[in-house]
C-alpha cells in the first residue's frame, strides 16, 4: 500500500471512530438533495433505464453510466465545504 493510501485509511479510521464520518455523510446527503443533485441523477438513471430497457438493465450498467456524471455534477461549493470540515476535524484531532 502506498503512503498515500495508508494515510487515507488512517484518516478514514479516525473519522469512523469519532463518529465524524456519519455526520459528514448526513451533511453531504442534505447538501446534495438541496442543490438538486439527487433529482438530476435520478432523472439520468431513468433515462438510462429507458434506453437499455427494463428487462436487460443491471446494477453494473447503471453504476458505469452514472458514476462519472454524478462525480461531475457535484457543485464546487459542496466539495469545498466538506473539505473544510474534514480539515477542521483533522486539525482538532490530529495525532497523525
Amino acid at each position: 500500500m502506498s503512503k498515500d493510501s495508508q494515510m487515507r485509511a488512517a484518516i478514514n479510521q479516525k473519522l469512523i471512530e469519532m463518529g465524524e464520518r456519519d455526520r459528514l455523510k448526513e451533511l453531504l446527503r442534505a447538501k446534495l438533495v438541496e442543490c438538486g443533485w439527487k433529482d438530476q441523477l435520478k432523472a439520468h438513471c431513468k433515462d438510462v433505464i429507458r434506453e437499455k430497457g427494463l428487462e436487460h438493465i443491471t446494477v453494473e450498467d447503471l453504476v458505469a453510466e452514472i458514476t462519472p456524471k454524478g462525480r461531475a455534477l457535484v457543485p464546487d461549493s459542496v466539495k469545498k465545504e466538506l473539505l473544510q470540515r474534514i480539515k477542521t476535524f483533522l486539525a482538532q484531532h490530529s495525532t497523525l
Partner: protein, 526 residues
C-alpha cells in the same frame, strides 16, 4: 429481478442462515460506529471478532471501492477491483453483500438479486439500528400491501399531478363575514403534515353523532383535492364550529386568531373522540398525554422562569401552547427599545436600517426578562416571603408548525383600536436565540458562538417555489386567492375589495417539518 430471488440464493438458505445474515447486517452494514460494531460482534459470534476492528478489503486493504462481504465466510473484498469476484470464484461462494447499502449480489447471475425474506431481514435490522442511533424512523418509499394492490387494480382511474396543476387549491365562499374562517381553513389545508394525515385516511372516528369536526376536516380535504374548480361552500364546517365554539357563533366579524385556537381546540378534542368538556369547561390541553395529530404538529412548550431578586432562586413552569401572542410597538404598553447594531441584530438576515419592526424584534421583546415590580411580589419558595422578582419566557419545546399572533387589536378601558404598525417577517427564522437552553447558556456566561446547525431543528423557513395563482370567483361574495405558501382571503362587498386578511404559511422545502404560520390581519380598504 423478481422478488423471489435467484436459484442460487436457495442454496444459501440452509442451517442458521437467518441468524448469520442478521449478524452481518447488524455488525457490518447498518452498524453506527466502530464501537457498536465491536460490541455487536462480541455479542454474536466469536468468529467475527478478529475482523471487527475495521472493514477493509482482505486483499488490498482499501475501504472504498464498494466493499462487499462474502455471505458464506469471513471475507471482505473490493467490488470495483474485483477482489470479491476472485474470492467467489475460488471458493464457490456465490453470494456477497454490499456493505454500503445491504444489497445481495449473486456472482452466477451477475446482478443484485432481491429475495423477499432477505429484504425483510435487512429492513428490520436497519430499523433497529436507526433506533439505537436515536435517528428514529427515516422516510422509506411506500410499498403497497396485497389489499392495496387489489384496490388499485379495481380502480384504474389515476390523477396525474403535473407541475402547473392546481390540485389542492380551491376557493371558499364567504358565508357572511366568514373571511376570518376561510383564511384559517386555507392555512390549515396547506399545512403539509395535516394534509398528509387527512389524505391518508388516518382519522378513525369514534364519535357517535355526526358532529365530528375532524371528519368534517377530512371531508374538506377531499373537496380541496377533488379537482373541482368552483369555490367550495363550507356551510357544514361553519355550522359545526358554531356548535362547538359558541362564542364564535353569529355573523359578526371575528378574529382569525381566535378562530384558529378554537378550531385547533375542537379538532384536538374530537381527535380523541372525547365530546365532553372538563367540569369547569377548560380545554383538555394536556400535551403530556395527548398524541393527536393537532398536538403533534402545533403544540410547543413555553417555559416561564421567575427569579427571586433576593435569593436568586428560580421557579420554573412549562406550559403548552399552540400560538405565541406578540405585542406590537404602537400599543400603549412600552415596546422594547430597538438597538440597531446591538447583539444579534443581524440575526435572520434582517437589518434595522429602515427602522421597521421585525418579527424577531417582537420575539426578542417576548423573551426578555421582565421586572415584575413591587406591586406584584411573588412568594418565593427559597426566602419564604414575598419578594420582587423578574420573569422571563423562553421556548422549551418548539412546535413543528409555529403560529405567531400579532396583537393588533388593543382593548383597554377606553378604546378598542387596531394597531397598524408595519411588521416585517423574514424568509428564514432561526428560533435558537429564543429557546430555553440558549438563555441558560447565556446566563452561564458562555459566549454564544455561531454553531453550525447541522440539524435544522430550530429553523423555520419559507417555502420557495410559489405556484400559480388560482382565482375562483364566487358571485357577490368572496374571492379567495391561494398562492401555494401564501394565503390571501379577500372579501368583496359588491365590486370593491373592502378587507384583506392575510395569513402566511411557511415550510421548509426539503424537510417536511418546521412550518411557520403568521396571522397578520391587515385591513386595507380600496
Amino acid at each position: 429481478m423478481s422478488p423471489a430471488g435467484c436459484a442460487h440464493v436457495n442454496a444459501y438458505k440452509v442451517d442458521n442462515w437467518r441468524q448469520n445474515l442478521r449478524v452481518i447486517y447488524q455488525c457490518f452494514v447498518w452498524s453506527g460506529s466502530a464501537e457498536t460494531r465491536r460490541r455487536k460482534v462480541l455479542q454474536n459470534d466469536v468468529r467475527w471478532t478478529a475482523l471487527a476492528k475495521s472493514c477493509i478489503c482482505h486483499m488490498c486493504g482499501a475501504h472504498l471501492n464498494r466493499l462487499h462481504s462474502c455471505l458464506s465466510c469471513v471475507f471482505f473484498g473490493c467490488f470495483t477491483k474485483k477482489h470479491i469476484h476472485e474470492h467467489a470464484k475460488n471458493k464457490r461462494h456465490n453470494l456477497a453483500i454490499d456493505l454500503l447499502y445491504g444489497g445481495i449480489y449473486c456472482f452466477v447471475c451477475q446482478d443484485y438479486i432481491y429475495d423477499k425474506e432477505m429484504e425483510q431481514i435487512a429492513k428490520e435490522e436497519q430499523r433497529k439500528a436507526w433506533k439505537l442511533q436515536g435517528v428514529g424512523e427515516k422516510y422509506s418509499t411506500w410499498e403497497p400491501t396485497k389489499r392495496e394492490l387489489e384496490l388499485l387494480r379495481h380502480n384504474p382511474k389515476r390523477r396525474k399531478i403535473t407541475t402547473n396543476c392546481t390540485i389542492g387549491l380551491r376557493g371558499l365562499i364567504n358565508l357572511g363575514n366568514t373571511c376570518f374562517m376561510n383564511c384559517i381553513v386555507q392555512a390549515l389545508t396547506h399545512t403539509p403534515l395535516l394534509r398528509d394525515f387527512f389524505l391518508s385516511d388516518r382519522h378513525k372516528c369514534e364519535m357517535q353523532s355526526n358532529s365530528c369536526l375532524v371528519c368534517e376536516m377530512s371531508q374538506l380535504f377531499q373537496e380541496f383535492y377533488s379537482g373541482h374548480r368552483w369555490p367550495h361552500i363550507p356551510f357544514r364546517l361553519l355550522h359545526l364550529v358554531w356548535t362547538h365554539a359558541r362564542h364564535l357563533a353569529g355573523y359578526e366579524q371575528q378574529d382569525a386568531h381566535e378562530f384558529l385556537i378554537a378550531a385547533l381546540d375542537v379538532l384536538h378534542r374530537h381527535c380523541k373522540g372525547d365530546t365532553t368538556r372538563d367540569d369547569n369547561g377548560k380545554k383538555a390541553n394536556n400535551p403530556n398525554h395527548c398524541s393527536c395529530i393537532i398536538d403533534q404538529i402545533f403544540t410547543g412548550g413555553l417555559q416561564s422562569d421567575v427569579t427571586c431578586q433576593v435569593c436568586h432562586g428560580v421557579s420554573t413552569t412549562i406550559d403548552p401552547f399552540w400560538d405565541i401572542s406578540l405585542d406590537l410597538p404602537g400599543s400603549s404598553t412600552p415596546f422594547w427599545p430597538l438597538s440597531p447594531g446591538g447583539d444579534g441584530s443581524t440575526v435572520n438576515g434582517e437589518s434595522h436600517l429602515s427602522g421597521a419592526t421585525t418579527l424577531t424584534d417582537c420575539l426578542r421583546r417576548f423573551t426578555r426578562p421582565e421586572h415584575l415590580g413591587s406591586s406584584a411580589k411573588i412568594k418565593c419558595g427559597g426566602c419564604h416571603s414575598y419578594q420582587e422578582s423578574t420573569k422571563q419566557l423562553t421556548m422549551k419545546k418548539l412546535p413543528i408548525v409555529a403560529c405567531f399572533h400579532l396583537k393588533r387589536f388593543e382593548h383597554s378601558a377606553k378604546l378598542r383600536r387596531k394597531i397598524t404598525t408595519y411588521v416585517s417577517f423574514p424568509l428564514e427564522l432561526d428560533m435558537t436565540p429564543f429557546i430555553a437552553s440558549s438563555k441558560e447558556s447565556r446566563m452561564n456566561g458562555q459566549y454564544q458562538q455561531t454553531v453550525e446547525v447541522l440539524n435544522n431543528d430550530n429553523k423555520y423557513s419559507l417555502f420557495n417555489s410559489p405556484r400559480s395563482l388560482s382565482v375562483c370567483c364566487g358571485g357577490v361574495g368572496i374571492l379567495c386567492l391561494t398562492l401555494h405558501g401564501l394565503c390571501l382571503c379577500v372579501s368583496c362587498g359588491g365590486a370593491d375589495i373592502i378587507c384583506l386578511t392575510v395569513c402566511v404559511l411557511w415550510w421548509s422545502r426539503y424537510s417536511l417539518f418546521n412550518c411557520l404560520c403568521v396571522v397578520v390581519e391587515q385591513v386595507f380598504s380600496v
